[in-house]
C-alpha cells in the first residue's frame, strides 16, 4: 500500500473536522509569507501606476545641470544618473515596463499553452501533433532567438515579450496537458459523457476547474521569468533607449559604477526585491492550493514516543512471534497523537497461519508494518512489545531489524507491480534479495552467498513458485510479466531466506480469482515445506477459510475477537464479527424474483386465461 493511501486511511479514521470549504483566498491571507510578499507586489504595482504623480520629472527628462547628483538632491529624491535623468522617475517607470512585459508574455504563454494543452490532452488523436509542436518550441534557444530576431521586433520590448510568450508556452502546455490527460481518464468525465454532456462543457466545467490551480501557480513563476528576461535583454542593449527599464538602468549604472555606485544599487535592489517577492508569493500560492508537499521518508527504524520502553512481561515459550498491547499513532494536523492501532496483542506459533481480518481503516496493515518495523516516518509506536523468539523488536535500530528481515521475517505485498523496481530485471531483484537475506547488521550482503550461487538459487526458486520458463522470466523486466507472475516472483523473493515468519498483506486482492487460488496453494505448499508461520492480512473471509488456522478480527485499531477458525465461523462471539459474517454473500443465495418482463408475460397469460374461462 502506497504511503499516501496509508496516510489517507489514517486521516479517514481520525475523526477531526476537516476545514473543507475554506476557500484558497481565505487560507492565503492567513499565510504571513503570502501577505508580506503580496503587499510588496501591490506596492510595486501602485508605484508604477502612480509614477507620474510620485516623481516630479518624466523618465527621459534630462537636467544638464544635475548630472550624477546624489540621493536627496531637491527634486531628485534618488539623485540623477550620468545623463542627468531622474533616477526615481526611471525606477518607477521601469516597474511599468516590467509589468507590461510580464502581462504580454504571460498572457501569450497562457492563451497558447492552455488552449493547446486542453486540446492535446483531451482529444486523444491530437496528442502526438501538439506534443511535437511544443517540443519544437522548447528546442528554440530562447534568448538567442530574441536577440537575432531584432530586425523583426525592432527591439521593441513589447514585440520581444510577445515572442517570448510563445517561447514560455511549452511550460504551460505541459502542465495543462498532463493535468487534462489525468482528468480525462477520470470516471466522472465518462459519467458526464454518458449523461450527454458536450465536449466543450466537459472541458470548461470538469477539466478547467482542476487545471486552474496549477496554472495559477505557473503564472506567478512565468511573470518572474518574463521580468528577469526583459531586464537581461535590456541590459544587453536590446530595445529602445527611450524605454526606462531595470536592465537599461543597471547597464547605465554599471558603466558609471566608480562615479556613482548608488545609481546601480537602486535598480538592482528593486529588481531583486521584485522578483524575489514574485517567487516567494508563487511558493506561498502553491502551498495554499496544493497543500503540504510530500516530506522526505528516511529509511530508519520506526519512531517511538518519548520515554517509550517496551512492555516487560513473561515471554510465551511456545510463541514464535509475540505481540503485546501494540499501539501505533499518527500526529493530527492539530498536533495531537491519534492511535490507529490501540493495544493489539497476537501470538503466532511456528508453522501456523493466522488470519488478520478487518475492513478498510481497521489498522490491520498498520499492525503488519508495525511488526516488520517499516511504518512511515509519520507514525509513532506508543506502547507495547513485539518479540520474535523472545527478542524485543520495538526500539531496535535499523541495522538490527535489517539483519532479521528476509531471513527471520519476510513480507509479501498486495500490489505486485508497484513493489518491483521497474528498472531492474526480475533476476536482479531475486539475486539482490537472496544476497541481502542473512547479512549481518553491518554487512551489505551475506558473505556466505556468492553471486553465482545466488543466481543458481534464483532460478531454482522461480521454478519452485511455478514459473513456466524461469530462464526467460529471470531476464525479463517487471512490466513484461503478468501480475500473477510478478506476485510469484515476490513470493520467491520473500521465501529466499527461508524465513520463520511470512507476513502477507492482502497478497491476492489485486489478482484474478483463478490466480488467487493458485497463489494461496503456493503459499500453503511453501509453508508446509519450510514450516513457516504466516500472518495473512485480508478482508476476504473466503481466503481466511481457505488457508488460516486461527483468525483475529480487527475493528478500529482493536482486535475484537480471536480464535480457532472453525469456532469463530460457527459461533462468533463479538457483535462485529457476527455482523461481518452476516454480510457475506451466501453461496446459496441466488436471486429468485423474476424480472418485470417475465411478470408482464405471466400477467398477460393469467388475464388471457381468465378471459378464456369467462368466455
Amino acid at each position: 500500500m502506497a504511503i499516501e493511501s496509508l496516510l489517507d486511511e489514517v486521516e479517514s479514521v481520525t475523526e477531526e473536522p476537516i476545514e473543507v470549504r475554506r476557500g484558497v483566498f481565505y487560507r492565503l491571507i492567513r499565510d504571513p509569507q503570502a501577505v508580506i510578499t503580496g503587499t510588496i507586489l501591490v506596492l510595486f504595482v501602485l508605484g508604477g501606476l502612480l509614477a507620474n504623480v510620485i516623481a516630479q520629472h518624466g523618465p527621459n527628462f534630462v537636467d544638464f545641470w544635475n548630472v550624477n547628483s546624489p540621493v536627496g538632491t531637491p527634486g531628485f529624491p534618488l539623485g540623477t544618473d550620468g545623463q542627468g535623468r531622474d533616477v526615481l522617475a526611471r525606477l518607477l517607470h521601469s516597474i511599468n515596463t516590467a509589468l507590461v512585459s510580464a502581462l504580454i508574455a504571460a498572457s501569450i504563454a497562457l492563451v497558447v499553452g492552455i488552449t493547446f494543452g486542453l486540446i492535446g490532452g483531451y482529444f486523444r488523436r491530437l496528442h502526438g501533433v501538439t506534443d511535437w509542436l511544443f517540443s519544437i518550441i522548447m528546442t528554440f534557444p530562447g534568448i538567442l532567438l530574441l536577440i537575432v530576431l531584432m530586425p523583426i521586433t525592432r527591439g521593441d520590448f513589447r514585440w520581444t515579450m510577445f515572442v517570448f510568450g510563445f517561447l514560455m508556452s511549452p511550460a504551460v502546455f505541459r502542465i495543462v496537458r498532463n493535468q487534462t490527460i489525468g482528468v480525462a481518464r477520470e470516471l466522472y468525465v465518462d459519467a458526464a459523457k454518458v449523461s450527454g454532456v458536450t465536449h466543450t462543457r466537459i472541458l470548461f466545467k470538469h477539466i478547467l476547474s482542476v487545471v486552474r490551480g496549477p496554472v495559477i501557480i505557473a503564472t506567478a513563476f512565468l511573470t518572474g521569468t518574463a521580468i528577469n528576461t526583459q531586464a537581461g535583454l535590456a541590459f544587453l542593449g536590446v530595445g529602445s533607449l527611450e524605454i526606462p527599464s531595470f536592465g537599461a538602468m543597471i547597464s547605465d549604472g554599471f558603466q558609471n559604477l566608480r562615479a556613482m555606485p548608488t545609481q546601480y544599487l537602486w535598480p538592482t535592489l528593486t529588481l531583486g526585491v521584485f522578483s524575489a517577492s514574485i517567487v516567494l508569493f508563487g511558493n506561498a500560492l502553491r502551498d495554499t492550493i496544493e497543500g503540504a508537499r510530500p516530506k522526505p521518508q528516511k529509511i530508519t527504524a520506526t519512531a517511538m514516543v518519548d520515554g517509550f520502553s517496551a512492555e516487560a512481561g513473561p515471554a510465551d515459550e511456545k510463541a514464535l512471534l509475540q505481540v503485546r498491547d501494540l499501539g501505533i499513532a499518527y500526529k493530527s494536523p492539530a498536533g495531537v497523537l491519534n492511535e490507529v492501532v490501540k493495544g493489539v496483542s497476537l501470538n503466532l506459533a511456528p508453522g501456523e497461519t493466522l488470519g488478520l481480518i478487518g475492513e478498510s481503516g481497521s489498522g490491520k496493515t498498520q499492525t503488519a508494518f508495525g511488526v516488520l518495523g517499516v511504518l512511515p516516518n509519520e507514525a509513532k509506536v506508543t506502547r507495547g512489545s513485539v518479540r520474535i523468539d523472545g527478542n524485543e523488536l520495538l526500539g531496535a535500530d535499523e541495522p538490527t531489524m535489517r539483519a532479521l528481515r528476509g531471513s527471520t521475517i519476510a513480507y509479501v505485498p498486495q500490489e505486485p507491480m508497484s513493489n518491483l523496481d521497474p528498472v531492474y530485471k526480475i533476476g536482479h531483484h531475486l539475486v539482490e534479495r537472496i544476497r541481502a537475506a542473512g547479512a549481518g547488521p553491518k554487512e551489505l550482503t551475506n558473505p556466505k552467498v556468492s553471486k553465482a550461487a545466488a543466481k543458481h538459487l534464483a532460478l531454482e526458486l522461480l521454478e519452485r513458485v511455478g514459473i513456466p520458463d524461469p530462464g526467460r522470466t529471470f531476464n525479463s523486466y517487471p512490466h513484461e510479466i503478468s501480475g500473477g507472475m510478478a506476485q510469484r516472483v515476490l513470493i520467491a523473493g520473500a521465501v529466499a531466506g527461508k524465513p520463520k515468519i511470512l507476513i502477507a498483506d492482502e497478497p491476492t486482492t489485486a489478482l484474478d480469482v483463478t490466480v488467487q487460488a493458485e497463489i494461496l496453494d503456493l503459499i500453503r505448499d511453501l509453508q508446509a515445506e519450510m514450516n513457516m508461520a504466516v500472518i495473512m492480512v485480508t478482508h476476504n473471509f473466503g481466503v481466511v477459510a481457505d488457508i488460516c488456522d486461527r483468525i483475529a478480527v480487527m475493528q478500529r485499531g482493536e482486535i475484537v475477537e480471536e480464535g480457532i477458525i472453525r469456532e469463530v465461523f460457527a459461533n462468533p462471539q463479538h457483535e462485529y464479527t457476527k455482523m461481518l459474517l452476516d454480510s457475506i454473500l451466501d453461496e446459496d443465495t441466488i436471486r429468485q424474483d423474476p424480472p418485470r418482463s417475465v411478470i408482464k408475460v405471466k400477467a398477460a397469460q393469467v388475464i388471457a386465461a381468465l378471459k378464456e374461462a369467462s368466455a
Partner: protein, 276 residues
C-alpha cells in the same frame, strides 16, 4: 417473453493503439446477448476478459468495430453524438471506483443535477428531483451542499446510483459497483440496487468478477473469457452446474467462507487439475 430492451449481435469492440497507422486491437470478438425489461444480466469474467469493454461499448465510450447493439430495436452501435445525447435518458452507468466517478470539486447537488440540466430541466425541477433522489438512496438532504470527499466509499456509491437513476433510465450499466466497498457496505448497496429495480423496472447489466455478487443480483449470467462469451444462461444453472471448462474453473476457484466446504472445494479443484 416480451422484446428485449437491449440486444447485442456478434458484437466486436476494439481499442485504438498509440502510434501512427497502427491497427486497433480487438478486445471483444463477437458476443451475443439480450437484456429484457427489468432484468439483470450478470457478466462475469477476469481482468482482460473484455467485460468492462462491453459495457463501455454500450455506453458509447468504446469503439464498436463490428456487429450491432440494438436498444429498443434501434441500432446504437454507431450512434452520432446527437443520438447519444438523447440516449442519455435511457442508458446510464455506475462505475466501480466511487472516488474517481465523482468530480471532487463539485458539490453533490451539482453532480446530481448535471444529467438533468443537459436534458433541459429547469433549475427548480432539477433541485426537486435531486432532493427526491437523495431521499431514495438513503442520504440526508443536506448532502446536496457538500463535496464528495466528505462521504465514505459506500455513501459515494449511493450518490453515483442516484446520478444514474436521475433520468429514470431503462438500462443501467453497473461496472463492478460494489468491488471497492467494504464487506458490510457491499451487501447494503447490492440490496439498494435490487430494491430500485423492483420499484422502477430498470434493467441492469451487472459486471463483476465476484461470482457471489453475480448470483445475488442476476437473473441471468454470461461468462466472458478472453473476449468471448463462453457460457450464458439462468444464474442457477450457469453458476450451479457449469458446463464450460472455464466456468467450472472459475466456480471452483472462488473461495467459500466456510472452512470445511472450502476444503472440499479445494480437493475438487485439485482433482480437476490432475484429470486435465
Amino acid at each position: 417473453m416480451t422484446a428485449p430492451i437491449l440486444a447485442a449481435k456478434n458484437l466486436q469492440v476494439s481499442y485504438p493503439v498509440r502510434g501512427f497507422m497502427k491497427k486497433p486491437i480487438e478486445i471483444v470478438h463477437g458476443v451475443d446477448f439480450e437484456i429484457g425489461e427489468g432484468e439483470t444480466l450478470g457478466i462475469v469474467g477476469e481482468s482482460g476478459s473484455g467485460k468492462t469493454t462491453i459495457g463501455r461499448a454500450i455506453l458509447g465510450l468504446a469503439m464498436v468495430s463490428g456487429g450491432s447493439i440494438a436498444f429498443d430495436g434501434r441500432d446504437i452501435s454507431q450512434a452520432t453524438p446527437k443520438i447519444r445525447r438523447s440516449l442519455a435518458k435511457d442508458i446510464q452507468v455506475v462505475f466501480q471506483d466511487p472516488y474517481s466517478s465523482l468530480n471532487p470539486s463539485l458539490m453533490i447537488g451539482q453532480i446530481l443535477a448535471e444529467p438533468l440540466t443537459v436534458q433541459g430541466w429547469s433549475r427548480a425541477d432539477a433541485t426537486k428531483r435531486v432532493l427526491e433522489l437523495l431521499d431514495r438512496v438513503g442520504l440526508p438532504r443536506n448532502a446536496a451542499a457538500r463535496l464528495p470527499r466528505e462521504f465514505s466509499g459506500g455513501q459515494r456509491q449511493r450518490i453515483a446510483i442516484a446520478r444514474a437513476l436521475a433520468l429514470s433510465p431503462k438500462l443501467v450499466i453497473c461496472d463492478e459497483p460494489v468491488s471497492g466497498l467494504d464487506l458490510s457496505t457491499q451487501a447494503k448497496v447490492l440490496d439498494l440496487f435490487i430494491e430500485l429495480q423492483r420499484e422502477t423496472g430498470v434493467a441492469y447489466m451487472f459486471i463483476s468478477h465476484d461470482l457471489a455478487v453475480i448470483r445475488h443480483i442476476s437473473h441471468r449470467v454470461g461468462v466472458l473469457y478472453r473476449g468471448e462469451m463462453v457460457e450464458q444462461g439462468d444464474t442457477a444453472e450457469v453458476t450451479g452446474e457449469p458446463r464450460n471448462p472455464y466456468t467450472q474453473r472459475l466456480v471452483l476457484a472462488a473461495p467459500v467462507a466456510d472452512p470445511d466446504r472450502q476444503a472440499e472445494r479445494r480437493a475438487l479443484r485439485a482433482q480437476m487439475f490432475a484429470a486435465a
